[in-house]
Symmetry: C2
Amino acid sequence: MIKTKRVAVAGFGNVGKGVIEVLLQGQIPELKLEKIVVKHPGKIRPFSVDPSLIVTDFSQVIRDPNIDVIVEVMGGIKDAVSLILSALRNGKDIVTANKVVISQHGNEIFSLAIKLGRTVGFRGTFVGCNALIHDLSLSARRIRRMCAILNGTCNYILSHMARSGISFEQALREAQEKGYAEANASEDIDGLDTAHKIQILLGVISNTYNIPPDIPCEGIRDITMQDIQYAKELGYAIKLLGVIERENGSVTVFVRPTLVPHGTMLASIEDANNAIELENDLGVVSGLIAPGAGTYPTTVAIINDLLDIARGATLMMPTLNTPIVLNDIGNIRGRYYLRLTVKDQPRVLAQITRILGDHDISLASVIQKESAPAEAVPVVMTTHEVKERELRTALEKVDQLEVVKAKTKIIPILEGRSQQPAFIR
Amino acid sequence: MIKTKRVAVAGFGNVGKGVIEVLLQGQIPELKLEKIVVKHPGKIRPFSVDPSLIVTDFSQVIRDPNIDVIVEVMGGIKDAVSLILSALRNGKDIVTANKVVISQHGNEIFSLAIKLGRTVGFRGTFVGCNALIHDLSLSARRIRRMCAILNGTCNYILSHMARSGISFEQALREAQEKGYAEANASEDIDGLDTAHKIQILLGVISNTYNIPPDIPCEGIRDITMQDIQYAKELGYAIKLLGVIERENGSVTVFVRPTLVPHGTMLASIEDANNAIELENDLGVVSGLIAPGAGTYPTTVAIINDLLDIARGATLMMPTLNTPIVLNDIGNIRGRYYLRLTVKDQPRVLAQITRILGDHDISLASVIQKESAPAEAVPVVMTTHEVKERELRTALEKVDQLEVVKAKTKIIPILEGRSQQPAFIR
């Protein structure tokens, strides 16, 4: 006996239209589209909808006893939060694809939902890594490390720079022309969108809605074509990664451009795809490549939430209020790529390497190329394993040298992790 | 209120030990290990187990009213089928990792389970693509196309041949030395293991346990180092693929070596990993890379089944008896790689291309290299799109030419499918 859930969709934009289209096809007996909330009822839609479904006032669905679940896909923050909270208070379950709302207001929303015994589905906020995260949360396993490419715009720009040998500015312009980046691309290229998703995933993985409001986050704005070329020579691609790693009770979390070894799955991700690599506490590593956004990928995520609600399955909603203690990224031990900008004159390298040596920082490689006479030239180095705090202390001194002409760029290098050796057919 | 399921594990081999280890850790409140069935109770185990858990006779767990679920990980066919059927009749749910049992006896097992209202979990039979298949089945979406690398041994051999420029025989020998292939590797290299998994997935995807007992299946035994090198020059890797594709109500299913375009996810899979690429009926493409076997990956799959049973979630068990009508692979339209073995003498190419032309088969490329004088030399061709039946008819005539010295090898070429263009952040 199937119990049908009656659904209202708030929003008829890119995502809303996909959800409405699938619900109207009527192939899912558990779900019935009851109402659509739109701002502009007169607007022309990609397909026609029975006018009796359309309402313009949220309160009409929030108070409607014939609505069981509200899908919030209208975007924005203030109105969306207020809709979600009132809907919960009125006994509705919620499904949302709103990353900013969940990453910044998850605490308020989840704690209220739990108090009221309601469900909030938010797979739509991390479309590209849904399947693996769901599988992990199902399996009662803990994550050891997660590395993910979660922003299609950044990955498009970085892979386009690598493929075509063009500058960041030019790649961004082309991404904007092709509709892969918005006119104001800051949310993407400064890493904020990735950070929102990492905050949400951190909550899911740790089963807490008390997620840190800020995490260390660095975008791709000052990655140069030269960085990408040097990295390539050294055997790496540069990707904007979100990383969550647990070790001995502490959690390291950051969003940063990172050198990823060629031949790994993450290095092979091109264009606007998302990808995630997970290692669980049994050492099992798996990877997922999926579109991180788009009408239908997001629609599938939302429909999966609705179906879980209709079937009474447990959703991946964090249920505890446990605070998360983040490891200071100064404590990270790892290898680093350094791009120094120095005067093209004798004995410059000697001055720099002496300071690094004094701080016990040992170098794995140095690349300095012949160049046309110029005010300043790049010198690229990679370090052996070092503690990031010590590296930064040394580089502060290096950057004070008269021959160093700009702040040294530091990019972490991701170490490949070998797979579980156990093998049976 | 958590209802604990009491579990018996039948088998203490590679997989059994992982499941037993995780259950004994006691971190999963829904699952309690009650009994372990072993053949040789005196055998030394990787960790010690309370002797009161050990029994040597299946009937002891089948008839034990304190057992709710039996995990069948003992291998073999006849005993495993008989254990599963009796256990179902005695009111137990079943979780198994036994591919041959599920692909060859799924009909009997699933129909009995459905009649009795019991559950059979079998995620362990397709470890490498679990997460995506589960997500798909959850989403009430239909698959349009699935292409998968499902056998670690074959992928190890093919990627090792490509990397090291060695012959099939040498790569197989090294795989056997390293424990990646068994002494009798036929099940792997002749494609049977992949075919079993494809049969199981076909049932899951189509929600029927009436799966065809045989599907078109060709292994990698006669892929030569030259095939791999020519394919590489043409921009492809050779992979053993299992493919399921639906179009207009018919289903095309096969296991065959296939040319996969460089730069795609499937072409990038190295060594013993498994990978799957799924396209659903909304055009959403996603890919998963995961170990296809191994103690802990299989353990996680089995534990997920147990947890689904404990939580009363719907498992991916096919519930209908609908027969599947397979499209004759002669009807496939596609591009092909052909390796002809011809006498090294003038006008050979002219004779061959005339026959192909008479059958309307047009060529995309021809590679014939200068070679030391020899009885027979390879000529490689790729075709434009053609119906496989027509190609085979033409090649039968070609192979009858006096100048053609061996049966022409035909390898299909996988066409890249571009992703859903819709893009939002």
